[in-house]
Symmetry: C2
């Protein structure tokens, strides 16, 4: 019992990996995502068999298998309730299906949670027991590690950090059906929302003027322009950072993590974003809670998912046995 199998299922590709007990990668590779129902789970198993065979490893000697899926999860039962990007509808019993092929322990969690666990164990979380990750991509996802384990909440809505009201004016509609969620002002989409909202109402001119007028400006354009001293873009980043900092200030008095990790596409902006966030965070956060709390950029990029999925086995199988 020496290795962990890990799969991070995405809409286009599945990332697969074989890990040792300390979550070091022995091998990682990708297969295309088969979107005709549950076939992808059999494909994943078959691919593990082939790769293990090449290494003279026996699938029956594996410690367990961790699986990340882009959809809402019933963690206890390993069931996914719909995954739009995989064309999965209704309840898909991922653990039960995989158990037809694989005998060992299987843990399934959503993509934001496994990415958080990856960053906790091997990334910006420095293996601390209290870590929160905000993933700022097309939407805003999150993961909370407290007392060394992920929080799922009573119905799986734990760490749905993108969906609480931060824009009191409720200017933009969210995909969740509400208005004013963090996601509407802090995701890549949110950055663009704010650009269009403010540009027409302000006298500041921007090097992005034509992009803005043609409605093809991206969050990346805004961060690049800000780095090149575009005042309007800096103004927008300051706004975005204010909302992210507010979320961080709330998180700090809720679960009080040592590391608040900013991941996802928006985090590619890097230091400039963190500097703006820190300025607001320091001013708006309960003093004792901000003491020795660090806001940092995610480190693992696309590998966070497979490392974290393997981390499920480390958390729920290896560390439990060692208790």
């Amino acid at each position: 019992m020496t290795h962990i199998l890990s799969a991070d299922i995405g809409g286009t590709t599945c990332k697969l990996g074989i890990f040792d007990e300390s979550l070091n990668i022995l091998e990682k590779w990708e297969i295309s995502t088969n979107k005709t129902g549950e076939g992808i789970l059999e494909n994943i198993y078959d691919s593990f068999v082939v790769h293990l065979n090449r290494k003279n490893l026996d699938i029956n000697s594996m410690i367990g298998m961790g699986i990340g899926v882009p959809g809402p999860i019933d963690f206890e039962n390993g069931v996914v309730n719909g995954a739009v990007n995989l064309n999965w509808t209704g309840n898909i019993e991922v653990r039960k299906i995989m158990q037809k092929y694989f005998d060992g322990p299987i843990y399934v969690d959503n993509d934001a949670n496994v990415a958080t666990l990856g960053e906790k164990f091997k990334g910006a979380g420095q293996n601390e027991s209290e870590v929160v990750c905000m993933t700022l991509g097309t939407g805003v996802g999150g993961g909370i590690v407290a007392n060394n384990v992920l929080l799922h909440g009573h119905n799986g809505s734990g760490a749905e950090i993108g969906h609480f009201l931060v824009d009191q004016k409720k200017r933009f509609k969210c995909n969740c059906g509400m208005k004013g969620c963090l996601e509407t002002v802090a995701s890549a989409t949110g950055v663009v929302n704010l650009v269009h909202h403010y540009y027409s109402n302000m006298s500041l001119k921007s090097s992005l003027h034509d992009h803005i007028m043609n409605k093809n400006v991206s969050a990346k354009d805004v961060f690049d322009a800000a780095k090149n001293d575009d005042e309007f873009s800096q103004f927008i980043i300051d706004k975005v950072a204010g909302y992210i900092a507010y979320a961080a200030s709330v998180i700090s008095v809720m679960t009080n993590p040592k590391y608040i990790i900013i991941g996802g596409g928006v985090s590619n902006a890097g230091d400039i974003l963190i500097q703006y966030i820190e300025k607001h965070y320091k001013n708006m956060t309960f003093r004792p809670a901000q003491d020795d709390t660090h806001i940092v950029v995610a480190k693992l990029g696309n590998d966070a998912g497979i490392i974290g999925a393997a981390g499920l086995i480390k958390t729920y199988v290896i560390e439990r046995e060692n208790k």
Copy 2:
């Protein structure tokens, strides 16, 4: 090894109790709080010895001792960093001091956390693994139980629910030094803040007019008047409830508890307050997170503390051994 000793240290009295393994009370009593330094801990031990002796129970056969203290705690080490109401300044090593007298396991936590644990095990929390308590008294305290254990955070600021910004206009100064915290608009003090703020700016007359003008109106007055159809008081409760509901909506997407328990003096308002909170909560909370989440009034009153302090021993000694 059949019984648990429990102490809830307050500014005026210490509540003491002897519990069985299922947290049923065998006996509870009070002693006055000796405020001359650490003497109270020896007093507590002596009182336990006397009461155990009467029951023919041996202090050396106790499973453990749980202690609640009104001050910030380093939970891991059982150290309190100052407790104003006890005249304790600096770091007081409560566990270490008590270990001079008592040999068994000792766990120490703050009053808000032990009250939460009490409500979780024997009160409004119905023994669920995901429970949050907001204690609305002179200030606002909180406790978060997730994955069946209390969250302390990396530096003990977990569940400091009273101290994040909810009043965007930052109208009232908080004891923590910031402005606009939940505590400034949802505690008993907060209710009075809002009364004075709105009464001078509104045409609504109130049966509390004289009290308001004489600056001796209390939160209880406002809730009583609201129940007697005083429109201004109902307006104030609606405002207070809106802020509490906002906090509940944030909590729901952070740790997603099954029960959000409202305790403390303000919760004596009872059903009328819960009704106002629920109305706002339903409108402002991420739909999946509010599903099967219940906002309820605390049940245990002043006993929550000793039950929860005993609950520390159940959580960290009894349940760990049974794992």
